[in-house]
Amino acid sequence: MQRRPILGVEDVSKRFGGLLAVDQVSLQLEAGTVHTIIGPNGAGKTTLFNVIAGVFHPTSGKVRFDGSDVTGWRPHEAARRGVGRTFQNLRMFKKLSVLDNVLVAWTKDSRTSVLGSLLPLPGPKREQRSFAEEAVRILNIVGLGHLKDAVSTSLAHGQQRLLEIARVLALQPKVLLLDEPGAGLNHAEKVELASLVGKLRERGYSILLIEHNMLLVMAVSDWITVLDHGRLLASGTPADIARNPEVIRAYLGSEFSDVAA
């Protein structure tokens, strides 16, 4: 099967004062695959995500998306052009309903002017209705359709993780950046998450994933990149990574032998 890179990071470094958080990292996400970044805490995984998503300007290096150089784009531009990212710490719009949390993603498609927002005109109302129908459809994909009117923070932790994924799916992105979507989930929820990631891959999304849980990583990844102290330690298929002695020493260690056992 012929793969084409949809997202590329070329020799990216990010320095914060004396700390080189990301050091000359390059990686490519092939369209329609799941590429997972693993590594110990402080390895620079989330910093790399922030560089890709436009939160940080890289100190050096380039970010390419869909064939063009997008280095230094702003976060809302990344979202609008097709890179949807979730956060390691849940970032719900706390006082808004589940449906409203998802509806925010349609801001980019709204044609309603400021003055039009002040009046209940038929155009804006129709627009909102069609957005809301789409939003419910997306909530159904992650299995939260029945909770659309609940306040987002009343959801269980695992459901909030799913809501975060629903919100970025609503952007209709080409690439998903999922930052530890399994954090804080129990075993059953992790299994469910793995199946959701698989389902999204089948739907054609390209997914860049940060995850610590090796069961999940091995189950869903087409390719794995290992970061350590900001540097690229190894890169390969899950089978390659599992056998790589350097990776086992630096990161997998006993945790992975437990999983294998």
Binding site: H76, M92, A105, T112, L119
Partner: protein
């Protein structure tokens, strides 16, 4: 848990509310009471204008008296010097204030939280200085006198009783606009910005644009409140637009419930009447006023509006030792719905 009333209940309730709101000029003999109601109507418009930027978009402004003042002066100057009809001067004053909102909004884009509070205070102080010292335009200390009252055609609404319905209508319009805005896509992106700016950006919201839109819209509406004020009192001077006014309107939003339209309306009416009812206490009324602010902030961070949520109401009343009262209300409700 929300209670949706039956349609006929809403219709009857609406008619009764309209009746109550329409009656004061006929029923109240004391003109001073009408005067207070008119002041309350202007306060509601002003507080709802601040609610757009503070309540919806979550951006602190402690300089809103400046926008109110710009609207007042613009409208006063247009109608006294420029001979522009009052009803035309009002939208023009809003446009002028909106331009000021844009001017303040852009430099404040990159600052948030406490720094934004400081910058907006500074802006309010700068406006005060200009009102006072640009005597050639604003009349300095003497202010502007003989500002015409609102006229609809040849009908001039000169007295408190005459202007009451006009102010009430603008007030109702303002409430309606606020509710529409909150439910719109723009309103939702403002709320998202308030709740979590980084998450809003990650969902494609250009938060800089939304901040500017909130500031400009809020300024224009504050300008409307200022214009209403100028044509109502007929005389303005820099004393009317000091930091006291900015803090007063800020308190209305805070006490009523940041972001809640009914809450802010309630807060504005309450804090307009409160000083009057505490007048017998002379200067000590400020103590009571301050105590109320502290109590609300400590016990009701969501303002009085949060009492509409049964969970919050029971928690707060319980903490104040009034739990039995709340249970009584709940029991009454259950019995009622059971019958």
């Amino acid at each position: 848990m929300t209670i949706t009333p039956k349609p006929w209940v809403r219709v009857v309730g609406g008619i009764m509310l309209a009746g109550v709101l329409a009656s004061p000029p006929q029923v109240l003999a004391n003109t001073y009471q009408i005067h207070l109601l008119n002041l309350a109507a202007i306060s509601v418009v002003f507080a709802l204008s601040l609610n757009v930027v503070l309540g919806f978009a979550g951006q602190i402004s402690l300089g809103h008296a400046a926008f109110f003042g710009v609207g007042s002066y613009a409208s006063a100057l247009l109608t006294t010097g420029g001979q522009v009809p009052v009803l035309l001067a009002m939208p023009l004053a809003m446009l002028i204030t909106a331009a000021f909102g844009l001017g303040v909004g852009i430099p404040t884009l990159r600052i948030g939280g406490h720094y934004l509070a400081m910058v907006t205070i500074a802006f309010g102080q700068m406006a005060s200085v200009v009102f006072l010292n640009a005597a050639g335009i604003t009349g300095g200390y003497n202010g502007i006198r003989a500002i015409p009252s609102v006229a609809i055609g040849t009908l001039r609404l000169a007295g408190e009783r005459q202007v009451y319905y006009f102010l009430l209508a603008v007030c109702v319009l303002m409430i309606w606009i606020s509710i529409n805005l909150k439910r719109s896509m723009l309103g939702r992106s403002m709320l998202a910005l308030r709740e979590d700016e980084a998450a809003a950006q990650a969902l494609g919201v250009n938060t800089m644009v939304v901040k500017i839109q909130a500031f400009v819209l809020s300024a224009a509406l504050a300008g409307l409140a200022g214009s209403l004020y100028a044509h109502w009192v007929g005389f303005i001077s820099p004393d009317s637009f000091t930091i006291d006014l900015s803090i007063g309107v800020f308190s209305m939003v805070l006490v009523g419930g940041v972001g809640s339209v009914p809450g802010v309306v309630f807060g504005a009416v309450l804090l307009t009447f409160l000083p009057e009812y505490l007048r017998f206490m002379k200067d000590y009324y400020r103590l009571i006023y301050g105590a109320i602010l502290i109590i609300v902030i400590v016990f009701l961070p969501g303002g009085i509006a949060s009492l509409a949520s049964p969970a919050v109401a029971s928690r707060v009343l319980g903490r104040l030792g009034l739990g039995a009262l709340f249970r009584g209300v709940q029991d009454a409700k259950t019995t009622h719905s059971g019958s």
